[in-house]
Amino acid sequence: MSTASQTTPRIAPGRAGVKKELPDRFKDYRHVWVFLELERGNVHPVSFELLGEGRKLADKLEVQLAGVVLGPPGGMVEDAVAEAFAYGADLVYIVDAPPLADYRNEPFAKALTDLVNTHKPEILLLGATTLGRDLAGSVATTLQTGLTADCTELDVDSDGSLAATRPTFGGSLLCTIYTLNYRPQMATVRPRVMPMPQRVDKPVGRVMRHKLSLVEDDIVTKVLGFLPDNQSAMANLAYADVVVAGGLGLGAAENLQLVKNLARAIGAEHGCSRPLVQKGWMPADRQIGQTGKTIRPKLYIAAGISGAIQHRVGVEGADLIVAINTDPNAPIFEFAHLGIVTDAIRFLPALTEAFTRRLSPHSRDKLAS
């Protein structure tokens, strides 16, 4: 790469200079909305993380924070409404109708689009889950507005615009994106990117209930069934308290066993950086980073991972990051808390053994009690 020359990131001239000229039809768009993702009785935790973030934006803008709950009539929706208030919403919009029992794009997109057109929020946030991305993409298309995916930071600018920051260029740099002249300003955020706010019991506040302008016969797609994941087989990386991951520094697919051994010894989930998934060394659901899972564990041990930005933004929320890498100049040492410059292939077995020694008396106590 010694002959490679650098160029500034290519942004079309004039793009960054676009002026804010909000058309009159958008001037009455106000308030911040968070879509609460309700599937099979549970609100996805990302919705609470977004309520925490939405609260901050609403306070800065001095507007209200509203939750949006779509679901079948009954207790599930009412429970979600109570949770929305407990996590900071000032009011909640509900559409409850039988076709909203399971997620399908048509009825959910219709319900959300109609709500936006009726009540005109300036900001609409959704979780970047399979459901949220499926829904946000089609709602933004119908509304012909801007949608910024997988944001890692949300803020309000001095003129009241949403500043949505996300990784770009395959996760090698960050960019801040605005939707200046359209409303609502839409953004998605991945689970665990934002911290979980404190839950505070509160009475249910103002609730606005709307009808779904579709009936089951209008909907082409039908749900035939749902096969829940085998929880023991599926990685629950995003919400794990302790995570051990390996990267290209491990050299060969079989060395991932060293990562798994350490993970097993300390009761952690294991994962890997993106290149290993691309090489087929590990399944995609174990990938940690911007395009895989974002994690916020109490302890994260990265073995042989150099720490590209797309990995960094996926792990920065960890309380304590330990990096093991042979290269003292690896970028991971710029954001890890503890570093060891050594060969992970040799060090991981020693660390596993040391942990086992240190922890085993306690686990014996545990089993005995």
Binding site: M1, S5, Q6, T7, T8, P9, I11, R15, A16, E39, R40, H44, Y103, N105, T130, R133, A136, G137, S138, T141, Q144, G146, L147, T148, D150, F169, L173, L174, T176, I177, Y178, T179, N181, V220, T221, G225, L227, D241, V242, I266, G267, K298, I309, R312, P328, F333, E334, A336, H337, L338, V341, T342, L351, A354, R358, L359, H362, R364, K366, L367
Partner: protein, 283 residues
């Protein structure tokens, strides 16, 4: 059946480097590839054609050099390739991209037969938004089936399709109708090796090149920069943390020694972890 597969030529992100001093992208010499997620869509389309007959058309929007990707797709066995290229498309965000692609797909339908299925990959590796597929579905009023792990059945007489779709916490089994848009999940198949005959064909065959006007787009205000509601204001490298990692000295020490010190350091910084790790490892 007629299947359209949307692909994108992307820089091989594994080879993108950021200049350590200026924090700018070093683009030159970075090879381009077909977005890896799109290959799962292409293979699924080719498999369906093998079973049901018909044709696979690959479509991309991009600069003239994106023709390389289309030739590769022809080499894998696609029947026809369409390159949508015009300076009016420069600077398109996902909304403007799905507009241009949906107009081109409508034109492909008029010219070569209406598609039964439009495929895209789950997302691209450069933009990572996963928004263009849903955008196309909405604009062309296609049933939207995202994150499809498996196509269980297609009945061309009743126009019914059954798929398994990845959802949060499980797999949804859906029944829908053609025409539909499918975004294909990764690791669902493996792209075939094209035959020698296909490689020769790919080298010989014409890539159809369309400008905005050729694709029937007359409202250019909906294309490129002008048609993009989002504005990129700033591109930057994240600031380094105030202090870099505290390094544990490894000189002339045994690995066990270093490991013990690391564990002691971890537990000094986060004392509560000891109980938790012990509890986890004991269960």
């Amino acid at each position: 059946m007629h299947i359209v597969v949307c692909i994108k030529q992307v820089p091989d992100s594994a080879q993108i480097r950021v200049h350590p001093v200026t924090n700018t992208i070093m683009r030159q010499g970075v090879p381009t590839i077909i977005n890896p997620y799109d290959l799962f869509a292409l293979e699924e389309a080719l498999k369906l054609r093998d079973v049901h007959g018909g044709e696979v058309t690959v479509l991309t929007m991009g600069p003239p050099m994106a023709e390389d990707s289309l030739r590769k797709a022809l080499g894998y066995g696609a029947d026809r390739a369409v390159l949508l290229t015009d300076r009016y498309f420069a600077g398109s965000d996902t909304l403007a991209t799905s507009f241009a692609l949906s107009q081109a797909i409508a034109k492909i339908g008029e010219t070569f037969g209406r598609p039964d299925i439009v495929f895209t990959g789950k997302q691209t590796i450069d933009g990572d938004t996963a928004q263009v597929g849903p955008g196309i579905a909405k604009r062309l009023d296609l049933s939207q089936l995202t994150y499809v792990a498996k196509i269980a059945s297609i009945d061309l007489d009743t126009r019914e399709i059954e798929v398994a779709r990845r959802a949060e916490g499980g797999t949804q089994l859906l029944k829908s109708r053609l025409p539909c848009l499918i975004t294909m999940l990764e690791d669902t198949n493996e792209i075939r090796r094209g035959s020698l005959q296909q490689a020769l064909c790919a080298a010989r065959s014409q890539v159809v090149k369309w400008t905005a006007a050729d694709a029937g787009i007359d409202d250019l205000t909906r294309c490129g920069l002008r048609g993009s509601p989002t504005v990129v204001k700033r591109v930057f490298a994240p600031t380094a943390r105030a202090e870099s990692a505290a390094q544990i000295d490894t000189a002339e020490r045994g690995l066990q020694d270093i490991a013990d010190e690391l564990i002691a350091d971890i537990l000094t910084r986060r004392p509560a972890l000891e109980h938790e790790l012990a509890f986890n490892s004991g269960t």
